[in-house]
């Protein structure tokens, strides 16, 4: 934005705020420097663009249509423009300072610091955050799909995107009414109504392939009452059965495994035997395979087979 344009827009904001009666486009043209030298059509185009830019910044411009006038009138109502009076106690301001640091990446980090700046401009003192320096809480939104989905949630707008199922080779197009976004264990999910499956579904943002396209008009999506977003992305917590694996461990190796194991017995031929509690044999197999020739899973058979499968896979 050029300096001249910034000046014109600032003067336009002041002019529309200061006027008690709505001003016609022609009156504005006379009152605001920067418009006067242009032809009628050029002025109209410029004025339209300026109004749009101000609205994009969140500045509410009222259009008043008086039945006695041919032309509409414009003004900015002070109450809808101004930040309401807000005073924060010292402890409240400190908490706010901490909250403003949470977002880690462009879109929301800028929104948060912009908000803080407006509050400070409004006279709120945000001092040192609470427990200054003793805590840093950061939430990342690195998924490329995040900004578009945030916009869709905010604007209550249906979206369409390509999505790859877990461990799947194929990508399918999904059309979703977004209800919300949830971060769980550092991963972002979209929760909403899947129009193709005709059911509520959760989608992991990292599996969204390519762009997110808005479908239809904003304001269409209705979030049903009683929806629990966190519950939608939570995995069903099945009470997993805990089992014990018997592992042969090369003497002197695998210090970590030995510490985590329930019991380690001295065995024969330079090998010890460890008992290790586990619930998911694939998880256990991944860990045991990573330890290579320092361990052998003796039992149970399913865990032993899973390790053999991984090692064969690594060999080929």
């Amino acid at each position: 934005m050029s300096r001249r344009k910034t000046e014109r827009l600032l003067n336009l904001v002041i002019c529309l705020l200061a006027t008690r009666r709505p001003l016609s486009a022609e009156q504005i043209r006379q009152a605001v420097p920067g418009y006067d030298r242009d032809g009628d059509e050029a002025f109209q185009r410029m004025f339209e663009r300026d109004k749009n830019e101000l609205r994009e910044l969140g500045i509410p411009i009222d259009v008043v249509r008086d039945p006695w006038e041919d032309e509409p009138g414009y003004r900015i109502e002070r109450e809808s423009y101004e930040l309401p009076e807000i005073t924060l106690e010292a402890d409240e301001a400190a908490v706010l300072g901490l909250a403003a640091q949470v977002w880690q990446r462009a879109s929301l980090a800028e929104a948060a610091s912009g908000a803080l700046l407006k509050l400070r401009a409004g006279g709120v003192d945000t001092d040192e955050p609470v427990g200054a320096g003793a805590l840093e809480l950061r939430v990342d939104t690195r998924d490329p799909a995040f900004p578009a989905l945030w916009d869709a949630v905010r604007d209550r707008r249906v979206v369409r995107f390509d999505y790859r199922g877990a461990g799947s080779e194929s990508v399918r197009t999904r059309t979703v009414e977004p209800w919300g976004v949830v971060s769980r264990r550092g991963r972002w999910y979209l929760a909403g109504y899947d129009r193709d499956r005709e059911a509520p579904r959760a989608f992991r943002l990292s599996r969204v392939a390519g762009p997110v396209t808005p479908v239809g008009r904003p304001g269409v999506v209705r979030v049903p009452g009683g929806v629990d977003l966190r519950e939608m992305v939570g995995f069903p917590e099945e009470p997993a059965e805990e089992r014990v694996a018997l592992i042969r461990v090369r003497r002197g190796a695998c210090q970590g495994l030995r510490q985590l194991a329930g019991a380690v017995r001295e065995g024969r031929d330079g090998w010890d035997e460890a008992e290790l509690a586990f619930t998911d044999s694939e998880r256990l197999a991944g860990w045991m395979a990573s330890l290579g020739a320092d361990v052998e899973v003796v039992e149970p058979p399913d865990a032993r087979d899973a390790v053999i499968r991984r090692l064969k896979g690594a060999l080929s």
């Binding site: 909250a99 977002w103 805590l135 799947s168 080779e169 550092g186 290579g292 896979g313 690594a314």
Partner: protein, 321 residues
């Protein structure tokens, strides 16, 4: 906020800021707005050219910065900042809710959180409050080690840790002067000066197997500076060896979990990823863990090492034990 596209919103915050902080210093205001002093003066000069219709000297905004002290007058029309946008208010509200959901972490005095949320919701209007309730952030904030770590932080005591490093399958004893608790990507870390590494380290609290608060005051050396976690917690060194892996759809988690230099789609859900290997042992362990869901393609010597280790391990299973 130093780009020219952001200039108008900045000016609409700058003027009210100067009105509510009469006599503020140029340097101090520049810092608040993330500007150089020169940029700030340029903004002030622009503001000084603007004002009410008529634009006679009596209509214009009056700004002076003699001796570095800024005085503004005749700007009553824009004396209040613009109200919060939906994104601005929601970004703060969601962050506040996240803090409220993790009382173990943020020891916020009294009921400051609900009070500030209520005030912010009032100031922001219904729309922002509605959006912020559609965004939830869960933080896994209660590892067993946390209470003792917090205790050591508060009383400035040294900690003795038993710390598990899965990449090397090691449990090592560490003496650490705790400096802060850092939560990144939903995980909680202790940041402190590690006497074993003689450097600042982040310790994932769910990998702390044992923790004792020592009767020794924490006394980190002067060079103990906070670690920059804005780009994530893993920060491989650019001098580490670059390794390329190909993974199947079931191995795509590698690209999400580790910072990769390059990620290329190979079709049918397969990926080629290039990442920096902290050491050879780490990449061998990763390749063995991946098994049939991924393989090292470069450098060839690394691929050979993986095959060799897989072969030795399989030999253990050749007999029925």
């Amino acid at each position: 906020m130093s780009g020219s596209a952001d200039r108008l919103p900045r000016l609409l915050a700058l003027v009210p800021y100067l009105m509510s902080h009469p006599g503020a210093q140029v340097g101090e205001v520049a810092e608040v707005f993330g500007l150089t002093e020169k940029q700030l003066i340029d903004d002030l000069q622009l503001v000084w050219m603007c004002g009410l219709p008529g634009h006679t000297p009596g209509d214009l905004i009056d700004v002076s910065w003699d001796g570095g002290e800024i005085i503004i007058d005749n700007a009553d029309t824009i004396a209040r900042p613009l109200r919060l946008g939906i994104d601005e208010a929601s970004a703060l509200l969601v962050a506040l809710r996240t803090l409220a959901a993790t009382p173990e972490l943020a020891e916020v005095p009294g009921d400051a959180l609900p009070r500030v949320m209520a005030k912010l919701e009032r100031a922001a209007g219904e729309a922002a409050a509605a959006v912020s309730s559609q965004v939830a952030v869960d933080v896994d904030a209660a590892p067993d080690a946390l209470p003792r770590v917090r205790d050591a932080l508060t009383r400035r005591r040294r900690l003795s840790l038993r710390y598990y490093v899965p990449g090397r399958d090691e449990v090592t004893p560490r003496e650490v002067d705790p400096m802060r608790v850092v939560v990144v990507d939903g995980r909680t870390y202790l940041e402190g000066w590690c006497y074993r590494a003689e450097a600042m380290r982040l310790f994932r609290l769910d990998r702390v197997l044992g923790v004792d608060v020592l009767d020794v005051p924490a006394d980190p050396p002067a060079e103990a500076e906070p670690i920059d976690v804005t780009q994530g917690v893993f920060r491989p060194s650019p001098t580490d060896e670059l390794v390329e892996l190909e993974v199947t759809p079931a191995g795509r988690w590698v690209a999400e979990y580790y910072p990769c230099e390059r990620v290329t789609e190979l079709g049918e859900g397969r990926l080629r990823v290039a990442l920096r290997a902290r050491d050879e042992d780490w990449i061998v362990k990763l390749a063995l863990r991946l098994g049939e869901t991924g393989r090292v393609v470069a450098p060839p010597a690394m691929a050979e090492t993986v095959r060799g280790e897989a072969e030795r391990a399989l030999a253990l299973y050749a007999h029925q034990s």
